[in-house]
């Protein structure tokens, strides 16, 4: 991994199209600005992990629901968790 020391206000360029600016540096956190073309998704690392987790979670209960989870053979309709009071 390339390690570069930067001061607030300084930037890093990646591939000529992506620019990362160090905006502010706190005790535990760094505020960064990212300038990138629209076709390049920019997201926090945790969002990527959550995205992958969501896709896997959705896949994991797709298809027939096991009876132990209230599959159709168990009968009984599902009911909303939130009451019908006006929002």
């Amino acid at each position: 991994m390339l390690v570069i020391r930067r001061h607030p206000g300084e930037t890093i360029l990646i591939g000529g199209e992506i620019e990362i600016e160090v905006i502010e540096c706190g005790r535990n956190r760094v505020k960064l600005g990212v300038r990138a073309p629209q076709h390049i998704p920019v997201m926090r690392g945790e969002v990527k992990a959550t995205r992958e987790q969501n896709l896997e979670a959705a896949r994991s209960i797709a298809g027939d629901l096991p009876e132990s989870l209230g599959g159709p053979s168990r009968g009984g309709a599902v009911v909303p968790l939130l009451g019908g009071e006006p929002a």
């Binding site: 959550t50 969501n54 209960i61």
Partner: protein, 151 residues
């Protein structure tokens, strides 16, 4: 209103029982409207049924059912998305519901995403999958033995 569901066919729900994610969920950005459902035979479990994509239905548990001592941590962005004033700390159960999405990979123990619970404002019915600003929990936390889910 009647909505098609992934597992139980058409189901009638009151429109006020639905929730809206203004930005969708990571990986499902176009899916904004959901209805959280419960099956009488599986009390505690929540089926998060998408109204925009019929075959999308997440399985979830309230965070307190996974970790009784769970405390919510919202980033400033997520709090603003839910319309909370700065410095407001919503109370679990009273102001917001927080649901951990479960993953039931075949042959493996079920896990819960406690890093990014679905947080629902009970009053406005707005929701966001709120990634914790701290690292207190992970996105694949094992369910304790004897928990509500017998899979």
């Amino acid at each position: 209103m009647t909505c098609p569901t992934a597992h139980w066919g058409p189901t009638t729900v009151d429109p006020s029982s639905t929730i809206e994610f203004p930005e969708g969920l990571p990986g499902f950005e176009a899916c904004r409207r959901f209805v959280p459902l419960q099956h009488p035979g599986r009390a505690g479990l929540v089926f998060l049924q998408s109204l925009d994509q019929v075959d999308l239905c997440f399985l979830a548990l309230p965070v307190a059912a996974v970790r009784p001592d769970y405390s919510l941590a919202l980033s400033a962005d997520d709090a603003a998305m839910l319309g909370f004033a700065e410095g407001f700390h919503p109370e679990l159960g009273a102001d917001v519901l927080a649901l951990a999405i479960l993953c039931l990979a075949e042959g493996q123990a079920a896990t819960a995403n406690l890093l990014a619970p679905v947080v629902i404002d009970i009053r406005s019915r707005r929701a966001v999958q709120a990634i914790r600003p701290d690292r207190r929990y992970g996105c694949r936390e094992p369910l304790a033995v004897g928990e509500a889910v017998c899979l």
